[in-house]
C-alpha cells in the first residue's frame, strides 16, 4: 500500500532516514523547477532547492500533518526563493556567474549540434518571451501561475501557500492568465 507524503514525513519525524530519501526523490525535480522559474539562474536554483530540503529535514520534528505536505514544502520553497531574490543573492550571482540569458537551458542547448539549430533558436526566443511575460506579473499572480500551471497543484494546496481563500485564488489565476493571454497572443497564433 503506497504511503502518502504526510505518512513519509511522519516516518522521517520518527527517525526513519529512508523517508527523507523518498521525499527527496519525489520532490527534488519539482522544487528545482519551481525555484528556477522564480530566480532563473540554474546554479542558484539548485543551491536554493537544496536549502529547501535542508529546512524540511530540520523542521521534521515540528511537522504536523494538518497541512498537506506539498503545501508545506512549496511554502518553504516560496519563502527561500523570495528571500534570495530580495536579499540580493541574485545580483551577487549575476555579477560572478555567467549571464542568466546564457544560462537558460533552452539557450544553452543551442551549442548542442542538431538538425534544426534555427528551430531551437526560435524555441528559445519563444521561451524567453513566456518567461518575460510571467515575470512581469505581480508577485502573487506569478506564484499562482507557477504553482498551478507548472507544479500542477490543486486549489486547496495553493491557496494556503498564498494565504488566500480558494475563491480568491480562482480570481487571482484568472487575472494572471488574462494578462498572459493578452501579452502572449502573438505566440498563441503561431505555434512552432
Amino acid at each position: 500500500m503506497a504511503k502518502t507524503d504526510e505518512e513519509w514525513m511522519l516516518r522521517l519525524q520518527a527517525g526513519d532516514d529512508h523517508a527523507f530519501d523518498h521525499l527527496l526523490g519525489k520532490y527534488r525535480a519539482p522544487v528545482v523547477h519551481f525555484v528556477y522559474r522564480l530566480v532563473r539562474e540554474p546554479a542558484l536554483a539548485e543551491e536554493l532547492a537544496q536549502e529547501v530540503f535542508l529546512r524540511v529535514f530540520r523542521a521534521r520534528r515540528n511537522y504536523r500533518p494538518r497541512a498537506k505536505f506539498t503545501t508545506w514544502l512549496f511554502r518553504i520553497a516560496t519563502n527561500v526563493a523570495l528571500n534570495a531574490l530580495r536579499d540580493g543573492r541574485m545580483r551577487r550571482w549575476g555579477e560572478t556567474s555567467i549571464d542568466a540569458e546564457d544560462a537558460d537551458p533552452q539557450v544553452a542547448q543551442l551549442s548542442v549540434p542538431g538538425p534544426t539549430a534555427e528551430q531551437r533558436l526560435l524555441e528559445a526566443e519563444r521561451a524567453r518571451q513566456i518567461r518575460a511575460a510571467v515575470e512581469s506579473l505581480p508577485e502573487k499572480q506569478r506564484l499562482a501561475v507557477l504553482l498551478h500551471k507548472y507544479q500542477d497543484l490543486d486549489y486547496a494546496e495553493i491557496a494556503p501557500i498564498l494565504e488566500c481563500s480558494e475563491s480568491a485564488l480562482k480570481s487571482l489565476l484568472f487575472r494572471a492568465y488574462e494578462a498572459l493571454r493578452v501579452k502572449l497572443r502573438p505566440l498563441a497564433g503561431a505555434q512552432p
Binding site: 527527496l24 527534488r28 528545482v32 539548485e46 532547492a49 535542508l54 529546512r55 519563502n79 475563491s167 502572449l184
Partner: protein, 178 residues
C-alpha cells in the same frame, strides 16, 4: 442568452474542476456565445504556449549535496525552543498568583464569601474580549484549515512549523568565494 462566463469559473472549467451541472451550464453558454467561446479558446491556447517554457533539471549530485550540507552545517538551536519552557513558566506563574492571592486574602478586611460574589468579581476581572474570528477566517469550506480555523492562528506549535521559514540558513560558503 445565458450570462457570460464568470472570472472565477473559467480556470476551473479548463481544469475540469467544475461540477457536472456547472460544466453543462457553461457548455450551453459557450455553444451560444462566440465571444466567450473565443476567450475560452485563447485561454486553452495560452495554457499550451506556457508549456514551452522549460525549467532546468536537478544535477545528479543534488541528493549528495543536500546530505553534505546537512553534515557540514550544524543544526541550529530552534528559535522556538523557548516555547518548550512554557509549561514550567506557566506553573511558576500559577504558584506566584496563588501566593499573591493568599497574601491578599490574609491582609484583606473584606470577608472571603463576598469576594466570590458575582458583582465584585466583575469589577476585579478585566472585560472579557469577545472571541470573534479574525476577518481572514472565511466560511469557504474545510480545505483551508490553516486559515479558516482562528484557533490555529494562536497555536504556537503550528507557528513553530512555519518558523523554519524564517530561520536563517548559512549561505553556502564555497559559493561565496567564487
Amino acid at each position: 442568452m445565458s450570462k457570460h462566463l464568470k472570472e472565477a469559473e473559467i480556470i476551473p472549467y479548463l481544469d475540469a474542476r467544475l461540477s457536472d451541472a456547472e460544466r453543462q451550464r457553461l457548455d450551453r453558454h459557450l455553444a451560444d456565445c462566440s465571444a466567450c467561446r473565443t476567450q475560452m479558446a485563447e485561454f486553452r491556447a495560452l495554457l499550451g504556449v506556457l508549456e514551452e517554457w522549460k525549467a532546468v533539471e536537478p544535477s545528479p549530485a543534488f541528493d549528495a549535496a543536500v546530505r553534505e550540507r546537512l553534515r557540514a552545517q550544524p543544526e541550529p538551536l530552534p528559535r522556538w525552543a523557548w516555547l518548550r519552557l512554557r509549561p514550567a513558566w506557566g506553573a511558576a506563574l500559577v504558584v506566584l498568583v496563588m501566593v499573591a492571592v493568599g497574601l491578599w486574602q490574609l491582609t484583606s478586611p473584606v470577608p472571603l464569601q463576598e469576594q466570590g460574589s458575582a458583582p465584585e468579581r466583575a469589577q476585579v476581572e478585566p472585560t472579557v474580549v469577545p472571541d470573534t474570528a479574525p476577518e481572514t477566517a472565511s466560511a469557504e469550506g474545510d480545505s483551508l484549515e490553516l486559515l479558516d480555523d482562528p484557533v490555529l492562528l494562536e497555536n504556537y506549535e503550528l507557528l513553530a512549523e512555519f518558523d523554519v521559514l524564517f530561520e536563517p540558513v548559512q549561505a553556502n560558503n564555497k559559493k561565496d568565494q567564487l
